[in-house]
């Protein structure tokens, strides 16, 4: 099994006629993802690669019954586009766009919580369940079907790790990019929990970064729910310390955001910590994951 997306995922694409949206929609189609509708205001009634385009999401939902959406619109329009999807009750939405204002994201996430829509992103490559469904921009050649769940803050880093796992013959159930932040629709601990609940996933690889406290949350969750082996890699060991946001940053985040602080917390939770992608397939083999 997979998490979040599978062979029954029916996808609506917002911004399907833009240059990025059109390029990525074609790749998703080639991969076998069921794209059922595109939305571009003003282009309703036309079509894209045989997929009907609508002026508004509600009409697209009534006529094509999507159960997931992916958004490729520019940052200043993401709030409106996301609210429109959430209002129709679509249960899963991937926001690929970078640079969405933080206040917009707070409002989108509050509305999503109230309507029961799960947001992945923003600033994320999205989700891929190799061989089954691709809801995003992951380079497909770097992933293959398998039994390891992979979750990452950084998109590129997940490609990096996917690639060495795949070269070593170790595939993935689902690969989830949660996005570059600083506000996240889905947090690492939540994705880890989903992987723990997925019977096919045998181990989880979690990729994090310096800054914030999301990896610490994940460590706390894993410590209290030691259900499956977890391997983590935290990058930014050599990065300069981030600029502090006045006193408030320190009051809220304390001094836990360093790479070393995160590595320590993960180790204390029983997580195996790698420092290079190549160590990850080795560690997976050691805990019994077979190629």
């Amino acid at each position: 099994m997979t998490i979040l997306i599978d062979q029954n995922t029916r996808v609506l694409v917002q911004g399907i006629t833009g240059s990025v949206g059109a390029f990525q929609a074609r790749i998703m189609l080639e991969y076998g993802t069921h794209l059922v509708a595109g939305v571009t205001p003003g282009k309703g009634g036309s079509s894209f690669e045989g997929i009907p385009i609508f002026n508004d999401v509600e009409k697209a939902v009534t006529e094509t019954a999507p159960n997931a959406a992916i958004c490729f619109v520019p940052a200043k329009f993401v709030r409106d586009a996301a609210l429109e999807v959430i209002q129709t009750g679509i249960p899963l939405m991937v926001l690929t766009t970078e640079g969405v204002p933080e206040k917009d994201m707070l409002e989108v996430l509050a509305y999503a919580r109230s309507k029961g829509t799960r947001i992945v992103g923003p600033d994320t490559p999205g989700i891929i369940s190799p061989g089954i469904c691709k809801l995003g921009v992951h380079p497909a050649m770097m992933f293959q079907r398998g039994t390891v769940g992979l979750v990452s803050k950084s998109g590129a880093l997940s490609y990096e790790v996917g690639r060495v796992m795949t070269e070593a013959g170790i595939g993935q159930t689902t690969v989830v990019g949660i996005g570059g932040g600083p506000i996240w629709g889905s947090r690492q601990a939540e994705i880890v929990r989903m992987f723990f609940a997925d019977p096919e996933t045998q181990a989880v690889v979690m990729l994090g970064e310096v800054g914030g406290r999301m990896e610490l949350e994940a460590a706390e969750y894993i410590k209290t729910h030691p259900e499956k082996p977890v391997i983590a890699m935290i990058v930014g060991r050599s990065a300069p310390e981030g600029a502090q946001m006045g006193h408030a940053g320190a009051i809220i985040e304390g001094h836990e955001g360093t790479a070393q602080g995160k590595i320590d917390a993960l180790k204390a939770a029983g997580v195996l910590v790698a420092t290079k992608p190549r160590e990850i397939p080795e560690l997976l083999r050691e805990i019994g994951i077979k190629a």
């Binding site: 933080e102 050649m141 590129a156 490609y159 990096e160 406290r213 050599s238 940053g249 009051i251």
Partner: protein
């Protein structure tokens, strides 16, 4: 963007937050006719001014006239002082702390407050966290009276005194996309509650909604900018590309923050010294790739550049176009090592090969090669 204290206080005034009477001093003449004692405060963006001696109490004009030039001449954490705010000295009965910031964990605007404000608030937060109240506001519902009451009871302040402060903070968050608004201390004086200091950060990502305000604030800060930004940083700011200067000699460009930080780690592990951190972000195209190399070219110590790319949303053919554009213009500026794989990587590497630019698929070996070239260049 961070605001200078006096800029933040101007916004405070517009939203009805009481602040002390003050004058932005532009010459010695401005110091005459003030009601002394006054506090002279260097206007810089960096924190820790009090501990750095950049805030001075002066009891009369004579003292002010000798202190003012000293402040103007000083640097606070490498930042020169270009402006001084003279503010009437207040008799303080108690110092509170009040801020509103975007909290990443609750994904909500969060009020943080304490009846133990002032310089040691971080220590209070560590030693006695129960003396700090954190109150998340529902982003759609907005600030409600019951929330103001809750904070007022916690601080032991009358609700009606606290209301204008909390309402104004929330208005400023909503109206200007503020990510942090901090009043420390919020002082209980004989004249009532006053915001003695003001910190304000606006969300650069929301600039499109506040173009005029950003432009005006930047204009005021301009003389400061030039001072502590090197020419790489100036270009990066202008082109809106993430660029952080470091102290080494190996330039670095990446198409993602995570992969960039990991490449930094690898450079260090291989014994190299990165000259910078530079990432293109999600909208990476040929033009941004070219520009990022132009930014690095401002740094005379950099002779070698590692380009670390793994394409998902980013197309490698676009990246190769950007690199070759730079190389056509500056054929001998850098030795380039390109790690390239992912979306349209074959097409991209074909373009690089035309320009005889070294490229490979494996990050660790490409980093090793770049570190080696940088070492040779340093000899």
């Amino acid at each position: 963007m961070r605001l200078l204290e006096y800029q933040a206080k101007n916004l405070f005034r517009q939203h009805g937050i009481p602040v002390p009477r003050s004058v932005l001093v532009s010459s010695m003449a401005d110091l005459r006719g003030l009601q002394y004692p006054q506090v002279l405060k260097a206007q810089v963006l960096t924190g820790g001014r009090g501990k750095a001696g950049a805030i001075q109490v002066v009891k009369d004009y004579a003292e002010a006239a000798s202190t003012y030039p000293q402040l103007l001449g000083m640097k606070v954490k490498n930042e020169s002082v270009h402006a001084v705010l003279a503010e009437q000295k207040q008799g303080i009965l108690q110092e509170y702390y009040l801020s509103l910031l975007i909290d990443k964990v609750s994904a909500a605007p969060l009020f943080v407050a304490s009846a133990f404000g002032g310089m040691d608030i971080e220590e209070v937060s560590r030693e006695a966290p129960q003396k700090i109240l954190k109150l998340a506001i529902d982003p759609l519902l907005g600030l409600q009276s019951f929330e103001i009451r809750k904070l007022a009871f916690f601080l032991g302040l009358p609700e009606k005194d606290l209301t204008p402060f909390m309402q104004a903070l929330f208005e400023i968050y909503q109206a200007y996309d503020a990510t942090l608004i901090e009043i420390n201390p919020l002082a209980h004086t004989e004249a009532g509650l006053l915001a003695l200091d003001a910190k304000l950060v606006l969300d650069d990502k929301a600039r499109f909604r506040h173009e005029d305000l950003f432009t005006q604030l930047e204009l005021e800060q301009k003389q400061n900018d030039g001072e502590y930004l090197d020419s790489s940083q100036k270009l990066a700011k202008e082109w809106e590309i993430t660029y952080v200067p470091l102290t080494g000699d190996l330039g670095l460009v990446s198409d993602g923050a995570g992969t960039g930080m990991f490449t930094l780690d690898l450079i260090k592990d291989a014994g190299g010294f990165a000259a910078n951190f530079c990432e293109l972000g999600g909208l990476a195209n040929a033009d941004r790739m070219n520009k990022s190399l132009e930014i690095l070219a401002q740094n005379p110590y950099v002779k070698t550049v590692m380009v670390s790319l793994i394409g998902g949303l980013t197309r490698m053919d676009d990246m190769a176009e950007g690199i070759s554009t730079f190389v056509r213009k500056h054929p001998d500026r850098f030795k380039l090592v390109v790690r390239m794989c992912g979306t349209k990587a074959d097409e991209g590497r074909a373009i690089l090969a035309e320009y005889a630019i070294e490229s490979g698929e494996d990050l660790v070996s490409e980093v090793a090669r770049a570190v080696e070239l940088a070492r040779e260049a340093a000899l």
